[in-house]
């Protein structure tokens, strides 16, 4: 199977995974592209096209095997590899993620958080120990986390991102609302821009 798929399809995969996992919990074993389409707000032909990128999984008039398709998508996304991740900045957003967000579900094991505040360093939040940021280099070089969650104040975001790229971190999940420019570094940045999303909503309701 060719795992090279377009970015648009990749961006839809987590949504497929989410819905298939829900269907599986609901005890649904098979689903037609039509029913899946209604549930996901897509068209049946869009779904058939997307899933054909991975060699199909459907049988004409018989539908998709829910669990098999879910597991295959999990494997394509790499969710079963449980890569190590670290968090930089244990403020309110960091803590909200530590307490509420299921990193394992998304393919990561959050192994350590880092901060400078004496209120956080040495303490554990949501089962993750916080170390002083001065220990970052040693930790990363020995544990080799592949991903860093950036939840520190925005004025320190760019410097920290370069430091992480230099240390060989491959992915940054960026909550700082700063566009990071890491040209030349082999780092993939996923931005969570709360504000952009709410501004889009603002446009919509004023339309």
């Amino acid at each position: 199977m060719d795992k090279k798929v377009s970015i648009a399809v990749v961006r839809r995969l987590p949504k497929y995974y989410r819905h298939l996992d829900e269907l599986s919990s609901e005890g649904v074993a098979r689903i037609s592209s039509g029913s899946l389409a209604v549930r996901m707000g897509l068209t049946a032909s869009q779904i058939r096209q997307d899933l054909n990128c991975f060699g199909g999984f459907g049988q004409q008039g018989y539908g998709y095997n829910v669990e098999r398709l879910r597991d295959e998508i999990a494997s394509i996304l790499g969710l079963d590899r449980r890569a190590k991740a670290i968090m930089i900045g244990v403020g309110r957003i960091g803590k909200a993620l530590l307490y509420n967000f299921d990193f394992r579900l998304c393919g990561f094991e959050l192994v350590r958080a880092f901060d400078v505040s004496p209120d956080s360093v040495g303490r554990s939040f949501g089962g993750v120990m916080t170390a002083h940021i001065g220990e970052l280099e040693e930790f990363v070089l020995s544990e080799r986390p592949q991903c860093a969650v950036l939840t520190l104040p925005r004025e320190n975001a760019a410097t920290m991102a370069s430091r992480l790229a230099f240390l060989g971190v491959k992915g940054i999940w960026n909550f700082t609302n700063v566009d990071l420019h890491l040209d030349g570094a082999a780092v993939w940045v996923e931005n969570v821009h709360f504000a952009d999303s709410l501004m889009t909503l603002c446009y919509r309701i004023n339309e």
Copy 2:
């Protein structure tokens, strides 16, 4: 000026706004499409195309007036209208937003939060008072908020969304990771799917 623009352009507008606002704070009065492109990771021709949707603003060889363009984009997005918003669910994610997120910057005045927990009801977080969810109907009918921030447990998301749609709320900023289906209702939903974003990152670092 025709304010009807494509969804792709609308989705880029907050990013333009953010960069222009930063440039303005840095004291930059004018910027060429080329320099803005480098800063934003777009091409100059993409930028010229986007901004032409709103009648231009640039002069050949002279660049864009940073403040004027920023203010015009703010006005197109409706950020200056300061619509009322409410929050449903004051757990960790709700509180993280109340304490850290600047709703005014995104065009909204967060006027009231709602919860059921005695730990939250009657208390103020980040300057926003929390009322009991039983007071929702009366409040919405008298204050007419246009937007609701959904930060309640996912099992209650669908029911609450229908209740809000019935009450005439026009936009939902959805943090529950549930795809809401409000067919027939004139409600725009903006989803913040943390998990989808991290799963995409997972794919990228495993590629």
